[in-house]
Amino acid sequence: MTRTDTFLARVAGWMLALLWVLPLLYAIWAAFHAPEFEAKFDLTAPLTLHNFSRAWEQAPFARYFLNTILLVTMILSVQLVLCTLAAFAFARLEFPGKNAAFALVLVQLMVTPDILLVENYKTIRALGLVDTIVAIGLPYFASGFAIFLLRQTFMTIPRELDEAARVEGCTLLGLLWRVYVPLGKPAMLAFGLVSVSHHWNNFLWPLIITNSVETRPLTVGLSLFSTTDSGTDWALIMAATLMTSAPLLLGFLLFQRQFVQSFMRAGIK
């Protein structure tokens, strides 16, 4: 690559990054200034935290935070256990109907969850779980994406390691725990990020299956600010949005290097 090429690539990179970060910068601007400055960019404008306190008072956000954290932790831990076991079976064990079963898992990737709203509702209702946090997570526990991703990762692990462990007398579960899980960590981390951010932001299904403050996640609380009939209060919305997405943003910034590396290794782009 010549010098100009590098330079151009760098400029393009900066432009893209700027374009991407603009909405976030605007959110920060609007959230920390009084509503008069929503569209007036005056650097000397007084900063304020008032929007945050206004937003915090409109809904029981503390409870919503707790619910969302419980929700994403529960979903991710169940997904990791279930999907690691399934992926290991698909990658390394032989059993009748293996290919058909794996094809079924792949079919799950093709179906958008919204089509299943009514069927999922019926199932949850039959189980008597309407309006619980478990109900929000249940349809996502056996994630086709996670099974597929982990199976592909496990397939790339050299047979020699597997055989060496077996020769040493390792049980099947021990083999999974000592060989496959450590080597599959980057893929798990990458999937964890996708899963957590997806369920942190999920709105429609939680709204439909829950009814009370005790079970509803942050996104449902945020929807209080979609006031189409009375004009949009950008300062308030931006404060609420920043407040609810802050933990994710901070988490990403802190572990940015690990995330980027694991994405490269796991091949999710």
């Binding site: 009514v118 019926k122 949850i124 209702r125 439909i208 929807s223 004009g231 949009t232």
Partner: protein, 424 residues
């Protein structure tokens, strides 16, 4: 008193004092205005339960109108319908078509039919009744009005106490109100009629003002390419194209009040749902008037109705009706209107002392009510969301200049016909 009598008396007293919770109701409600609307609904149900200890109502906040409809349909299909919901009045035919709702008529007494159902403003009932039955009870209803900036009127040499009486006057005033800086860039436009998201709502106000209508009462035929409809769209396109009194392109609905407060537009069209917002935030005195019409006064109605959902037993539905009756009673409806800015849906509400005081101190609030006699129903047809999407895209195409108004509306009418044929 013998011991036995004493025992019986105590038992009776105990039975009376303990809330039995004989009836458990679920009530889904959307919120589309800022402030404390959700808390006001909660307070409404709490007060009702205090007065009626045998009924328990869970008021469940369900997001926007669209989200509420999605949740109610999913719950009904999943075999667990709520008893009562508030959803868009324009969704009436969709609910009838999907067989999700029960009419109010069979659940109210003959006396109530006349006194209660008959007491709502006819403009609101236009899309609450069909086939001779009442499917919705008006509650959070609105209608668009024109707001004008009195300071800007003064600065332009206009009478600040008088808004435009008709379309021609609005254009003429708009020209005086459009202010350019030395470089020729516009600092203040005369008028802003927002066109993002759901332009068909405000457009139907212009159609009504031209003497036209959106659709027939049976909800199976639209009049998108009627001469009135075409004239209405040509008028709105001309505002920025030839009259030069409105900013070109698609104008955001959500930021229109902001543009008004900041002096970017001297007159705006928006819902009465904004009244409280404008009253609190406008840094200048403002006037509220009827939508100026091309030929006559005219406006659409909008907002949400109470619906009863199928799949519940009669006792539950009757209890729900009782709550709706209470919520629309003069005293409760007056509180609701003052808290949110929605138009109180019955004449008797406006007769209450609270409401009279409110109007006396804030006469702008009565404009929406007075405009109702000229109002038509917003687009309320079978397959409502689809047909609305068709007309909204057509309007956007004409406003951005991709199609001529006639072309766009002819195509929209043909598409709507193709969908609605099945319902004729």
């Amino acid at each position: 008193m013998t011991l036995r009598q004493h025992f019986l008396a105590t038992a009776a007293l105990f039975a009376l004092a303990t809330p039995a919770f004989a009836i458990d109701l679920e009530f889904y409600f959307p919120v589309a205005v800022g402030g404390k609307a959700a808390e006001t609904v909660q307070a409404l149900t709490d007060n009702y339960m205090k007065a009626h200890p045998d009924v328990k109502i869970s008021a469940i906040y369900t997001g926007s109108y669209v989200d509420t409809t999605a949740k109610a349909i999913t719950a009904a299909r999943g075999g667990n319908p709520p008893e009562l919901i508030i959803a868009g009045a324009a969704d009436m035919f969709a609910f009838i078509d999907e067989e999700l709702v029960v009419a109010f008529d069979d659940l109210v007494s003959e006396a109530d039919k006349a006194a209660w159902l008959g007491g709502f403003f006819p403009a609101f009932m236009a899309n609450s009744q069909a086939d001779g039955k009442t499917w919705g009870i008006p509650f959070q209803r609105s209608t668009p009005v024109l707001y004008w900036n009195k300071d800007a009127f003064k600065a332009a040499g206009l009478d600040p106490e008088k808004g435009p009486a008709n379309w021609a006057e609005m254009v003429e005033m708009g020209k005086k109100l459009t202010v350019k800086d030395a470089g020729g860039a516009v600092k203040q436009y005369g008028v802003q009629i927002p066109s993002s998201g759901f332009p068909s709502w405000l457009w139907s106000g212009i159609v009504a003002g031209a003497g036209g209508k959106m659709a027939n009462a049976a909800g199976n035929e639209t009049y998108f390419n009627s001469p009135e409809a075409i004239a209405a769209l040509e008028a709105i396109v001309a505002l920025s194209k030839t009259d030069g009194v409105m900013a070109p392109g698609i104008l955001e609905w959500g930021s229109t009040p902001k543009a008004f407060f900041e002096g970017q537009a001297a007159m705006i069209w928006t819902t009465t749902g904004n009244l409280t917002n404008v009253r609190t935030n406008a840094p200048f005195p403002f006037g509220v008037g009827f939508l100026p019409g091309l030929k006559q006064n005219g406006a659409p109605t909008g907002g949400g109705n109470f619906y009863l959902m199928k799949g519940n037993n009669e006792a539950e539905l009757k209890a729900a009706v009782d709550f709706v009756k209470w919520a629309t009673s003069p005293e409760q409806a007056a509180n609701w209107t003052i808290a949110t800015g929605y138009v109180a849906p019955r004449a008797d509400v406006w007769e209450t002392p609270v409401m009279k005081d409110y109007v006396a101190g804030f006469p702008q609030a009565a404009v929406a009510r007075d405009q109702l006699q000229y109002a038509i129903a917003e687009l309320t047809v079978f397959e409502g969301p689809k047909v609305t999407q068709i007309i909204n895209s057509a309007l956007e195409a004409a406003i951005t200049g991709q199609k001529s108004p006639k072309e766009a509306l002819d195509a929209a009418q043909a598409d709507a016909d193709a969908i609605l044929k099945a319902y004729r």
